[in-house]
């Protein structure tokens, strides 16, 4: 059992810069948590505070119920994989993996057993005699992971472990991490700036910006119900579209008027709006590019096409509304034959409607999602 609890954790550097503000999170046993955000958002700092490599300015970090604020990294029973691998260059792969066990005075026989086991899991058995400089990037990263898993730590920390690998290897290693996780059930905290890694690996994702937690939730929650404009824009490619909308209430519920088109607000949002003390009239309506549906009939919004990106199985259409606003539409073309696809690619104008069920409404003032009760405001750069 190893759960990690961060309570009001704050990190302020000597020069006064606050890297992490009031971070609260309870990580459950065997949970895979991903910290994600743009560079400088404090995600690595948070991880390093859990590891004990950075002092904590304020708040507490508990591992397994014990406050570890002042505990040395070596006493926290954690393992960490670094972005740049950090292998000991003068030791063989075997010794690299065995180092932590040797320091813990594990008998040689057992070390041998554990190292061979770990090497087998990672498929690096034939590399055990080599020095790190004789390995490729992917192999080095495997050794670094081997060094971490061999001790069976309470918490497994990974700091952008894949970002030094090329795209193909990264996909492969990502899949391997998922498999690895099945084999060694332990608590994971994983830092990345890559939203794909976050979405595919995490049980829960923590999105951070400028040292603040923006939202904590499952990949699905984050994708479907982003807590604020930042999360909405950060998760998903291409980015979510935002429209200015006017919110009105009548007998049938709420309607949002977007570019002359009336969009019925779905029930879960309407219910949330009813619970609010006040509902703003002007809102931002967010809708993902795949939820704008091309249509030839009925009520729709017209736009002229500026750029069409052929992605293979889908097309990204960058279009301009009459008022000059840009909008991106993602169209699946797998069902279309070549002629239809060509027709699609050579169009000049389109009309689209909005898949009402999928919309999100945001407060234009502070960027909060109106339907998410405890949404964090988007920090403004002070």
């Amino acid at each position: 059992m190893a759960d990690v609890k961060l309570t009001n954790v704050k990190k302020q550097y000597d020069n006064g810069f606050v890297a992490v503000h009031d971070f609260n999170l309870e990580i459950k046993h065997e949970e895979f948590i991903v910290l994600v955000g743009p560079s400088g958002c404090g995600k690595s700092t948070t991880l390093r505070m859990i590891a004990g490599l950075e002092d904590i300015t304020d708040g507490t970090i508990e591992i397994d119920g014990t406050v570890v604020n002042d505990m040395e990294p070596k006493d926290r029973d954690i393992a960490m994989v670094f972005q740049n691998y950090a292998l000991y260059p003068h030791m063989s792969v075997y010794e690299n993996i065995a180092f932590g066990l040797r320091l813990r005075k594990v008998p040689n026989k057992e070390i041998h057993k554990k190292v061979t086991e770990a090497a087998e899991i990672l498929g690096i058995t034939e590399l055990l005699g080599r020095k790190p400089k004789q390995l490729s990037g992917g192999q080095r990263q495997r050794v670094a992971i081997g060094r971490a898993i061999v001790r069976v730590p309470k918490v497994f920390l990974m700091d952008e472990p894949l970002s030094n690998l090329d795209a193909k290897l990264r996909n492969q290693m990502r899949a391997e991490i998922i498999l690895l996780r099945e084999k060694i059930r332990t608590t994971f905290v994983y830092v990345t700036h890559d939203q794909t890694e976050a979405m595919t690996l995490g049980d829960r994702i923590v999105i951070m910006k400028d040292g603040y937690v923006m939202q904590v939730g499952t990949p699905q929650e984050l994708f479907n119900h982003p807590a604020n404009l930042f999360v909405a824009g950060f998760i998903g490619t291409p980015q979510m579209n935002f429209f200015d909308a006017e919110l009105k209430k009548d007998r049938n519920g709420y309607t949002a008027k977007v570019e002359g088109l009336n969009v019925k607000v779905p029930k879960h949002i309407a219910d949330a709006l009813d619970k609010r003390e006040s509902v703003p009239e002007k809102v931002l309506l967010g809708v993902r590019p795949e939820n704008l549906i091309l249509t030839d009939s009925g009520e729709s919004i017209g736009a002229s096409i500026k750029v069409t990106e052929m992605m293979g199985s889908e097309i990204h259409i960058h279009a301009e509304l009459p008022d000059g606003k840009n909008v991106i539409i993602k169209v699946q073309i797998a069902d279309l034959d070549d002629d239809q696809q060509n027709e699609m690619l050579t169009r000049h104008g389109i009309a689209f409607r909005i898949r009402e069920r999928t919309i999100n409404l945001f407060d234009p003032e502070d960027g909060r999602n109106l339907a998410v009760s405890d949404a964090a405001a988007v920090p403004t750069n002070e």
Partner: protein, 289 residues
Amino acid sequence: MADTTKKYASKSGRERTSRILIYVFLTALSIIWMIPFFYLICQAFRGESRSMVTYFFPKQWSLENFRILFRETEFGHWYLNTLIIALFNAVLQTVIVLCVAYALSRMRFKGRKLLMNLMLILGMFPGFLSMIATYFILKLIGLTSENSVPGLILVYAASSGMGYYIAKGFFDTIPKSLDEAARIDGASRSRVFFRIIMPMAKPIIIYTIMMAFIAPWGDFMYASLITFGHEKAYNVAVGLYKWLDKEHLSNYFTVFCAGGLFVSVPVTALFLGLQKYYVEGVTGGAVKG
């Protein structure tokens, strides 16, 4: 085609001429540099007279000067003194310099910048400014004259932390994540230093040892002041220099040269023995590269 061949040929011809010129120049330079050393050897083995002469090659080769050196003078004492001081200092200074450099490279503490700047500025003042004060302090605790050997070791080792700069520069190039990985693996700071950093720091260890050995080996100023005329406590530099006095010169010049030859042996041996470690770096493969 023919044109390009010609061009090529003329280019290589020009290259060869310039290379010959360079080698001639370098050979001439090295001969000039070697002359004093050859002169020293020749004088050391000269048998016919012990004073200065006006010719280069001895008329009679002999080992007489070496016999005098070890049988009739205190040179053996001086040599031993110097060796003890240099060896002790090599060990102490290397340990101190590496520890200071590592701490300044890795740890962040209040006053770190101030300390580094202060040491740098203090290092710019010539050491002999504090010589008189040092002498009186050592005298108070009884480490001058006949006890000069421990006194000198203390003087050399005490200020050695100021020479942290080059070693710190080297440690700065070793990625911090190596330390961090080892600390998470279960190593204490000192274990990280000895098990992870030291094996990678061979070139800088060798460099520090050489510097720490050579400096007291050839030191004259401090040694002459602190021994203060106590002949048995001299080091080689002070001892040999006394023979260049007017009263001694005519009797000891060739002996002086023989001593000089002996003095150069350990330094040369040290350099030849350690130079191969000096050039190789071992950080390859630690992190992405």
